[in-house]
Symmetry: C2
Subunit: 120 residues, 2 copies
DNA sequence: CAGTCATATTGACAGACGTCGATGCCGGTG
DNA sequence: CACCGGCATCGACGTCTGTCAATATGACTG
């Protein structure tokens, strides 16, 4: 399971992305590319303190506790969430850096349209 | 196959996302959540005129023509690409609006941290 | 019109994924 | 210490996905 390097990446739109970069970022997108996980991240991010208890997350879905736990593991393994066990409860928090890494993908770089003539 | 509504969406980080929203955006992310497709979009976006001929895209990968065609179809079906046939060749172009729709997911809204006390 | 080239489609297959019920683990409580 | 409750893990399942070889389609060429 990855979770460290955090996939710094150039925007999609600028210059062509390397195979290596693509393989680093794709897992992050894959982790987010599920309606349930999207809502989980959103719920956690919107919670007070930027973290949420698994018990509350379970109640927000009509899914088995096992399934929610699985989705949280996917997000955690991708490096998108932090995990903190406090007594009996477990709290997950969004890792802003991870989200930011993905966000850079969609940054629109200065638009040089069609093979821009050097504006010197 | 979708390709129209284009999934307008509130940022992940602001208020909790609805199930409906999540189900609209997830397919876009799913379409992008593959290294090959990520590179395809990147290659197309980085090409002169913001479009690229399939023949060139085929050459950029060590994959079968059928596989590239499949990936392009996935991206096209998700509404991320436009398709334009000119004679024997087919050109794909990135739909900036679609990319922008996904980008809004990662916009960081004004940070109200933990249940902000109204600063009145 | 027969041939060739660029894409798309089909069918097959192995592997990954989302979901569940059942079970295990561990921290509190009586 | 025995028990209960929150969460993770396991095993199984049907489905979806990425890839390929083969074939179809459709546009130009001689």
């Amino acid at each position: 399971m990855s979770a460290s390097g955090l996939a710094c990446c150039t925007p999609l739109t600028g210059t062509a992305m390397s195979a290596r970069q693509a393989e680093q970022v794709a897992p992050l997108l894959k982790a987010l590319a599920d309606p349930v996980r999207l809502r989980l991240v959103s719920l956690i991010a919107a919670s007070a303190g930027g973290e949420a208890c698994v018990c509350d997350l379970n109640d927000a879905f009509e899914l088995t506790q096992a399934t929610i736990s699985h989705h949280l593991k996917v997000l955690y393994s991708a490096g998108l969430l932090d995990r903190d066990k406090r007594g009996v409860w477990v709290y997950y928090a969004v890792r802003p850096a991870a989200l930011a890494a993905v966000a850079t993908l969609f940054d629109t770089p200065p638009r040089f349209d069609t093979a821009a003539p050097n504006p010197a």
